[in-house]
Amino acid sequence: MAGFDKVVKSYAEALAGLTDDMTIIAGGFGLCGIPEGIIAEIKSMGVKGLTFVSNNCGVDDFGLGLLLEDRQIKKMISSYVGENALFEQQFLSGELEVELTPQGTLAEKMRAGGAGIPAFYTATGYGTPVGEGKEVREFDGRPYILEESITGDFAIVKGWKADRYGNVIYRHTAQNFNPMAATAGKITIVEVEEIVEPGELDPAHIHTPGIYVNRLIQGSFEKRIEKRTVRSA
């Protein structure tokens, strides 16, 4: 790699340096916009004791759920972790730790982590179990709780197109948590459907500027649909 060319040749190269007990920030919402090839590589690497910061944990046989099969995940920081029998089983047996975090707070924690904001106040979760043990402060007569930001050793992100410099755009609602995840990893890996040359993407429409991206790889995606809802034409 020279200059700003972020493209790596293999998934092994993309994930070089990932070891047991690290924290990974993952983009995606349900099975939408998840870095499928990166997850597969983490599975085949067999690293264990991982903490994942991700809105969900996939389903039994897809997405992050795949990493439950070999008990690679120690802890999930998520807003919603249904849809997964293996998850339930490992959670109930105490093998898997779960830190439930409101969805908006989770997104903001990732953004803050990437943006050098160590903590912020939010009304979300005040007076609920989420607020327990957290500082409460009033602004303008309303109580808010203090939430700290999150960063990870790695961030894994799924984009649509990226140029070689790592400027990424996302497709439709596959954007979701990916842009924030991209900012919050010490090493950020982006897996995309298509890699283009610098200059092919409009600078004003870049969702994730290349400064946040360390490694870029082109993948192929199954894009499994969780709830196929259709209407007759």
Binding site: F29, G30, L31, C32, G33, N55, S78, S79, Y80, V81, G82, E88, F91, L92, L100, P102, Q103, G104, T105, L106, A107, E108, M110, R111, T122, A123, T124, G125, Y126, G127, T128, P129, V130, W160, R171, H172, T173, A174, Q175, N176, F177, N178, P179, M180, H207, K223, R224, I225, E226, K227, R228, T229, V230, R231, S232, A233
Partner: protein, 218 residues
Amino acid sequence: MALSREQMAQRVARELQDGFYVNLGIGIPTLVANYIPEGMEVMLQSENGLLGMGPYPTNEELDADMINAGKETVTAIKGASIFSSAESFAMIRGGHVDLTVLGAFEVDVSGNIASWMIPGKLVKGMGGAMDLVAGANNIVVTMTHASKHGESKLLTQCSLPLTGAGCIKKVLTDLAYVEIAEGSFWLKERAPGVSVDEIVAKTEGEIVVPDVVPEMEF
């Protein structure tokens, strides 16, 4: 008679106004989209990052990259915008959504809501519900008035862990439309053929009953 799910959605739809940005939760709230009054425009926000949610796609339109917060495949209307989860919750937490409709297990006279966790049962998570109730000024909670075992869900104090504190002002149940103010429920409307006595009997928290309680019309 108690309202059907469709009637509940229909009654909630009367809270809509032209030009409202609306977030509809899963279940009965989703049905509200079917009862938007003719000539009125409402834009649906889905907290995974879509403003201007359209109907389900046809088979030809189906796209794995276009889903709603319930993870269903959807479409986007003309004039929609798509953005990150951080931007989506900036909208929600910042109070830019005009109306939020969501379900609950319990509400109480202080405007507290419990909707995500039943101790002893597996907890799947709060998703975006805590942000939605903390961020919206205008929330309608939809739920049955009492549990299957006849226990009231309109309480003096929520017994389940809260989703939000002091944030609920409007509740539509299968029996009544109730507002919350000054530490009480205020009975505003009743389902057709449901007596005030039945509503009061099934409301554990203090409820203020005016002389006349109009019946909802459908």
